[in-house]
Amino acid sequence: MSAAEQALESGDAVPLSLRGPAPTRVVAGYGFWLFLLSDIIIFGALFAAFAVLCGETAGGPTAAGLFDKKHVLIETACLLASSVTCGFGSLAVQSADKSSTYFWMAITFILGVTFLILEVSEFSHMLSIGAGPSRSAFLSAFFTLVGTHGLHVTVGLCWLIVMLLQVATLGFQPMVSRRFFCFGLFWHALDIVWIGVFTIVYLGAHL
């Protein structure tokens, strides 16, 4: 390894002004990362609203009576597994392997859909027993927070379909693999938000 390469590896020996432009993938990743952080700030605001309002049940159903922990554990498992299969999928994209991209991303899609079905069944059960968003401030905050997360998952699944169509029609062009990279970031970030949801909303309810 030459001295210049070593300097590039360590990164601090070359002054910033001499390093040249960052690779497009790094720049695109940074831009998307900024979007994700702003999205997480939205969720932060919804978490703050939930934390303030979670005791205001207005005589209606309370958190401890509504939430089933086993249900949440299955939802969490779906989302976590889909995060890992999405990671395997992005490795397949990186090595331009079409069939294993389809395979891993199809599993990611199925797990995401399973998560959504579980969430919708929970919501419809709550609506059927009269615990809808209009019942109390606590339930409004709950449906807003968890519903926004579910909406993000839905958008992510639509994005995944579009990406698979792009792989089928355009192949693994740099542009397509960059978009896939951003999709992976989005999907993993949703999983991070879900950690907050199950800890604060569902596990916090049983304390």
């Binding site: 497009t24 993938r25 700030i41 303030v52 554990l73 890992v84 490795l91 970031l185 991070i192 800890t199």
Partner: protein, 124 residues
Amino acid sequence: MSTGIEAQGVAPGVDVQTHGTRRSYLVGLGYAVILTLASFWASSSDLIYSPGIPILLGVLAIAQMGVHLVFFLHISSAPDQTNNVLALAFGVFVVGLLVFGSMIIMAHLNHNMMPMDRLIQMQR
């Protein structure tokens, strides 16, 4: 960066390693599963001093977020990640202000507010 097209937009001598390996995803999965099960177990455990459980849940959640950031989102101390780490620090700062600020302010307002029945009496 093997293909010719892929080299477009890449500075010479720079090899971008933004993806992990299959092994790093599995290690991350292992940690995440352990931390998730630990927090589900802790939330209904009789073994732990009960006022300490919320703190334990918080610690487990933050640890799992860290695991996800490192093993799934590949945030690291690499030179091409400096901007990402700085942006993350700012994001965490804003979220902290937002969440804890709201909670403190609302708790104070709640504390200072007259009880609702007396408020209704005054309006008569």
